[in-house]
């Protein structure tokens, strides 16, 4: 049968290619389902009435479908003062960190790319050295410092320690080093000072990389857990990530709220990823693929 249907090799190759395409889609779909499965079960848990759902677990194959669907939970989360406050605080802290990192990284990146000064290598070494001192290592001491400064449970306590990041300095320095020599010479002829050259030439020319960096910085700041968990203990100073933990430790019959909150808290970032996919990927892979 098969050989009858395939008289010449050309056609046979065509059929094989079509099957390969079907196979590719099958594999892609399977992998997508694996990745999305935990998200699906979270939506099921969020949208089910807790008590009937917990009962349904006892029956065979229970738990995979929503029980007594209660999708209004998403509305209740969005109308919840604590959720809104935590999201707002996360947004504010993240924007402060991103703005701070943007300014400090551009200034420092500029100095390393365009200026000659004594102890330049030492200063660069100081920046590199911070890679060995992540917040996980310095946590205990930094909490003490923040308490001494009276910054426990404050906006500056949550954001200021993160307003400089070695990765950003490297990335922006690298971008500045790529600014064409002719532009520098032309700016020099026009009598540009350093600040004018930075704002009128270097930064605009490096916009794509700076943009990628700011997006990565935002993702990192928004998703941060360890520092906000320990740099504040009052509920009003809990970022959304820390709030999710408290919600996840409630009674089983109240957990649907926490699951809905977890999903909703991720939505802004998913949207950011969809809109700026190329820029974010460029930033994430900056260290991995050269050239």
């Amino acid at each position: 049968m098969a050989s009858e249907a395939l008289p010449d090799p050309q056609q046979r190759r065509e059929v094989r290619r079509r099957w390969a395409t079907v196979g590719s889609y099958a594999l892609l779909t399977l992998l997508a389902l694996v990745i999305l499965f935990p998200v699906y079960t979270t939506l099921v848990r969020a949208g089910s009435e807790p008590v009937p759902y917990l009962k349904s677990l006892k029956s065979d194959g229970g738990g995979l479908l929503p029980v007594g669907s209660d999708w209004g939970v998403f509305g209740r989360v969005l109308a919840n003062d604590d959720f809104v406050r935590a999201m707002g605080l996360s947004a504010l802290v993240s924007l402060l960190i991103v703005a701070g990192q943007g300014v400090t990284s551009i200034l420092a990146g500029y100095a390393f790319a365009f200026l000659d000064f004594p102890l330049k290598r030492v200063a660069f070494g100081v920046v590199v050295g911070t890679l060995l001192l992540p917040i996980e290592v310095t946590l205990i001491a930094n909490i003490e410092t923040v308490r001494d400064l009276g910054w426990f449970n404050t906006l500056q306590g949550l954001s200021l320690p993160f307003m400089a990041w070695a990765f950003g300095i490297f990335l922006i320095r690298q971008a500045f080093l790529g600014v064409p020599r002719e532009l520098q010479d032309a700016a020099l002829l026009d009598g540009f000072g350093h600040l004018r050259f930075m704002f009128r030439v270097a930064v605009p020319v490096s916009r794509p990389i700076i943009g990628s960096f700011l997006l990565i910085a935002f993702l990192g700041a928004w998703n941060q857990y360890l520092w906000p968990r320990f740099a504040a203990d009052q509920e009003q100073w809990q970022t959304i990530q820390v709030t999710l933990r408290s919600l996840s430790q409630r009674e089983l019959t109240e957990l649907n709220f926490g699951f809905a909150a977890a999903v909703l808290s991720a939505v802004p970032l998913i949207l950011l990823l969809v809109v700026f996919q190329r820029q974010i990927i460029r930033g994430l892979t900056a260290g991995a693929v050269k050239g």
Binding site: F117, T138, P161, W222, N223, L226, L244, L269, T285
Partner: protein
Amino acid sequence: MAAAFLAPVLVIFGAFAYYPLGRLVYLALYRRNDNAFLQSSDEWVGWSSITDTLGSERFTSGLWVSIQFMLLTVPLGIVLGVLLAVAADRRLKGIRFFQTIFSSTVATSVAVASVVFLTLLQPEAGLWRNVEWLSLNQPASALRAVSLAAVWQNAGLTFVIVLAALQAVPDEVREASRLDGFGSVSRFFRITVPLISPALLFLAVVLVVHALQAYAQFEILRPAEDAQPLLYKIADPEGVSSLTSRAAMSLGLFVVTLVVSLTQFTLLDRRVHYGE
């Protein structure tokens, strides 16, 4: 000029990266004395207290959990990243849709990922509560369960890095290897893997660091006590340890970070030499 440009960075790094290192040493060597009758003064506890802490069961067991967590999450993370990237590195209609799904956990925080995995792993009401080898209540299986959540959370990043590396392989190389009659499997292992090995190495480094710094998964999924990593003992949310011993353990984590980073620098350095 340069001083003004560097001042903000140096002040922040000084106050929140370098000064804390010195402060950790101080905290590890002096016990805080909060006696209300005496003038509050710190009491010297001696260098031996650091070595005592680093030799204690609490530190070594935490370190061992961290290492096991690393051994579970790093290889699995790389394999999953390669699998997703190879599957999505095709010119097909709608491929962007799949690529977005595969990369979606880039936008998912560790806290969100952990809460999401509660629906599967929760001992009382998780979908997989009867799957014994993923039980959060037993140390060994608990570590596997937490690792699974971590691997899922890392999948977006690993996928993005491997895909970028695959797409950087020049078309001529792919074509040539195809014409040379390599089968697709041997083509993958003999041509593709060596070409993307720098990216895989970078990925391994990133995942090792992630594993050493894992915390939120453990606080939200709450595995058995014997499955708590080093950072959990340092952060000590239940307030079990003294500040002195937590500072000493932080110094231990610093040394581990140092060793990992030095290994990473030598490995990446060698890679650069090969490339030139």
